[in-house]
């Protein structure tokens, strides 16, 4: 039984971990504005569902299923919010609030159709647009992309805005297609095909770019 509240937890964990790494219970509690005890209780339930892996004292990470579920929620939120603003001319604040409620009840099909109405070009990396997406590897770090497999950049993640700027300025931007051409050595730079050019990138930079493979 997935309640709205439960899904909110998944979204918060997604925001804290972005699909990689571990979130601390205290951080989740702070973000949800609840006590650590009630967080622990909910995390146990989610772990039973198989959406998360919860290890005491270590923290919480999303399972592949949990990640897909959480990202689909996030994407639905964005579609709903843009639909309300762009098509229904709602104010941003109100749209955001309404979207927070819609994300839980919106069916995949409706979300897909709303997406079509907005005419968005950037939702190709979205979890809603294809139940078929689930079969593909979503949200892998670009340095783990199998050679030759095409992928689409879904997002960038790094605490250092300078690195994000650097990647963006070279053209590693969500929505663009990318594939791995060569890996020069175990830890050496990797060569990616992006647009019409080949770019060599250090692994630590490549690992900040997340890709949906097989799209």
């Amino acid at each position: 039984m997935a309640t709205g509240n439960r899904e909110d937890y998944l979204l918060r964990i997604l925001r804290l971990t972005d699909g990689e790494g571990v979130a601390k219970t205290t951080d989740i509690a702070a973000l949800m504005n609840v006590s650590a005890a009630s967080v622990t209780e909910m995390l146990r339930a989610l772990a039973e569902d198989g959406s998360i892996v919860y290890e005491k004292y270590k923290g919480v990470s999303l399972t592949p299923e949990g990640l897909i579920q959480a990202r689909r929620l996030r994407d639905k939120h964005q579609i709903a919010e843009r639909f309300l603003m762009d098509i229904l001319d709602k104010e941003q604040g109100a749209a955001h609030e309404e979207a927070c409620r819609m994300e839980h009840i919106l069916s995949d099909e409706s979300a897909k159709n709303m997406c079509r109405i907005i005419g968005a070009s950037d939702v190709s990396a979205c979890e809603v647009c294809g139940t078929e997406c689930i079969k593909k590897i979503s949200g892998v770090q670009m340095n783990r992309l199998p050679p030759g497999t095409p992928g689409k950049i879904s997002h960038l993640k790094c605490d250092d805005p300078e690195k994000i700027k650097k990647l963006v300025s070279i053209g590693f931007v969500p929505g663009r297609s990318v594939s791995l051409v060569n890996r020069t050595s175990n830890n050496g730079p990797m060569i990616f095909h992006l647009g019409e050019s080949n770019i060599a990138l250090d692994q630590d930079l490549a690992s900040l770019v997340f890709v949906d493979a097989g799209t």
């Binding site: 070009s121 931007v173 060599a200 630590d204």
Partner: protein
């Protein structure tokens, strides 16, 4: 006469510098990798009664980054973009260039889009230039800097250019658009479009921020952080996503790929970076480069020397005797030796090296070597990017130190520059090692000098890496297509890089030999030599007069060996008998490590300040003398 200011911008390796040369006829150094242009170039042409001043700016991927080059370009564009900016795009790779074009247009800067390398692009794509012009509502000109196609039309378009309002704009995500709308009324910047400024503010651009009021800046900052908390993504990424989305859509509308199978050069390119094939290929390239250099230079040197002797004979010295008696003869013999020294040093060693370097640069192979060598370089606290400056440094230290600017971290730049100055022999030092030590002390002696230098590279690198505070930096480098080097460009670059040897080194050598002759005539030479004899004779075991060569070597490295030839001549012996083989080895070793030449010191000073320059120069002098002394001691025991 009407004056016009035109600025060239474009992505790295889009062919800006080639186009600049085509437009203005002024030669600049062009290579097939990114980051060749590190300084502004400017030239003027007159066409149809209009003086067009063309400025070439460093290549930038976009205006959204924070690299030094991007700041330079943003500053130039926002301060004074001139009458029109030409965005130079590689016609085979227009997506990224279009983003740069959008950003420039958005700031309200007049833009002409030049689709360069069109001759190569037609082999791969059908491009509808008219359609692109209709979509962007700006002039779009197909050109080829290589074949000069479309260059005249581009200039005519520049002269004809009148700024028109274009209604093309990138539409961003509704949240971003709402922010932009809110920011616009707060913005008053002369000459720039408010919308563009608003977008740049949201991107936290370092150049734009100081131009607006604190109110606008604060508002933009608040919006950007609000966006990040609600979307979980930086607004920069979101803005860039919309730009690339738009560029992708336009590209699909105006360009269709015609060939699908991979070309030979693409396959070769893949093979050059895959470890299994790339590393053997790299070893082969380096081996062929250096062995052909050594083989050809040796043959060339004896050919040129013979040719000069048979051509000039002793005409110069007898001419000197006729007009100036004994002194005249001695002076003209000095001139004669100077000419021979320059010819036999510059052409076989220095020119040949630049021909080989030019071919390597233009082939596009260098960035592949960078990628392969990245891991090795990491041991020295560097990344692969250091390979190019070091390779250029085998030519001359001055452009090599400039080339370190492509390295983002100051720390790495200093390490690379120190390595270049101390342990990478420049072409003049190479000429000494091969042309003097190699010739008179044997191949083994020359080889042992290279071995010492190699050990020094690792020793200095590892030590500096340990002592200097670590700054992380990462490699991100575009791989240009492999291409056939053009003989014309290689010849131009070789001449451009060598002309100083004829224009500056030769006159200096002549003056030096005359001064030397005068000192000798008045018996003053010993007064100069004596104070240094502890270093030259006692420590290094060399003839005392060698100090003159050492001193001249501070001016320019190749002068040291030229001076040696003149000194030998004045001593009345051939150079081969002037010193023993061991002495040639010590001399070559000291010269290879020795204090940087004046030009190198000047560029070090400019890039790293006087303290670092003094430190590097002093250390290299001491290390050179110590190693020289050690070798002398060991050799005399053997």
């Amino acid at each position: 006469m009407r004056e016009m200011q035109v600025t060239l911008i474009g992505q790295p390796n889009a062919g800006k510098s080639s186009l600049f040369t085509r437009l203005t006829g002024v030669g600049v150094i062009i290579s097939n990798y990114a980051g060749t242009t590190v300084e502004f170039e400017e030239a003027t042409i007159t066409r149809n009664g209009v003086n067009i001043h063309v400025h070439d700016l460093p290549g930038t991927h976009s205006l959204s980054g924070n690299s030094d080059d991007e700041k330079v370009v943003m500053k130039a564009l926002t301060e004074d973009a001139g009458d029109v900016v030409i965005v130079v795009a590689d016609a085979s790779n227009i997506e990224g260039s279009m983003v740069l074009c959008f950003e420039t247009m958005e700031l309200g800067i007049p833009v002409i889009l030049a689709l360069n390398k069109m001759d190569a692009a037609v082999k791969k794509f059908d491009t509808d230039v008219d359609k692109l012009r209709d979509i962007l509502k700006i002039p779009v000109m197909p050109v080829s800097a290589r074949s000069a196609m479309g260059v005249d039309e581009l200039l005519d378009e520049v002269i004809r250019y009148e700024k028109k309002e274009t209604d093309f704009k990138v539409r961003y995500d509704s949240h971003a658009e709402a922010y932009i709308k809110e920011l616009i009324p707060m913005i008053f910047v002369n000459g720039l479009d408010e919308r563009g400024v608003a977008v740049k503010l949201l991107e936290k651009d370092a150049t734009i921020s100081p131009l607006v009021s604190d109110e606008a800046k604060d508002a933009a900052e608040r919006m950007a952080s609000e966006f990040e908390t609600t979307h979980g993504e930086s607004i920069n990424v979101h803005i860039a996503r919309d730009r690339y989305g738009q560029a992708g859509i336009i590209k699909n509308e105006v360009q269709r790929k015609t060939v699908r199978e991979r070309s030979f050069s693409e396959k070769l390119s893949d093979a050059a970076t895959a470890p299994a094939t790339g590393i053997p290929l790299l070893i082969a390239v380096l081996f062929i480069t250096f062995s052909s250099f050594i083989l050809i230079s040796g043959v060339l040197e004896s050919l040129i020397s013979e040719a000069y002797r048979s051509l000039a004979g002793d005409s110069l010295s007898s001419f000197g005797e006729e007009i100036g008696g004994e002194i005249g003869k001695a002076v003209m013999e000095g001139v004669d030796k100077s000419i021979e020294a320059i010819l036999t040093l510059v052409i076989p060693f220095i020119m040949l090296f630049y021909v080989i370097l030019g071919i390597l640069e233009d082939s596009g192979y260098m960035p592949r070597a960078v990628v392969l060598l990245d891991r090795v370089m990491h041991r020295l606290g560097l990344h692969g990017g250091a390979f190019i400056p070091m390779m250029v440094g085998i030519g001359c230290n001055v452009p090599a130190i400039m080339a370190t600017r492509v390295i983002a971290s100051k720390r790495e730049r200093l390490i690379v520059s120190t390595l270049i100055v101390m342990a990478v022999p420049c072409s003049a030092q190479l000429a000494i090692i091969l042309g003097a030590t190699g010739k008179y002390a044997g191949v083994l002696a020359a080889f042992s000098i290279f071995l010492v230098l190699l050990v020094m590279i690792f020793a200095i690198g590892i030590l500096m890496n340990r002592w200097m505070k670590y700054e992380p930096s990462s490699l991100a480098m575009e791989m240009p297509d492999l291409s056939m080097p053009s003989a014309r460009n290689v010849a131009f670059k070789t001449w451009d890089r060598c002309k100083d040897f004829f224009m500056i080194a030769f006159p200096l050598l002549v003056v030096g030999s005359i001064v030397l002759e005068i000192l000798l005539q008045f018996g003053l030479l010993d007064v100069l030599i004596e104070p240094f004899s502890f270093i030259t004779v006692t420590m290094l075991g060399l003839p005392g007069v060698v100090i003159i060569a050492f001193i001249m070597g501070i001016l320019r490295k190749e002068m040291a060996v030229g001076m040696l030839m003149i000194l030998a001549m004045q001593g009345g012996v051939p150079l081969a008998d002037f010193m023993t083989g061991d002495q040639f080895l010590v001399f070559g070793l000291v010269m290879a490590i020795y204090i940087p030449c004046l030009a190198t010191m000047a560029v070090l000073w400019r890039e790293f300040g006087i303290k670092n320059t003094a430190l590097i120069s002093g250390t290299s002098l001491i290390v050179a003398l110590l190693i020289g002394t050690a070798f002398n001691a060991v050799l005399s025991v053997i």
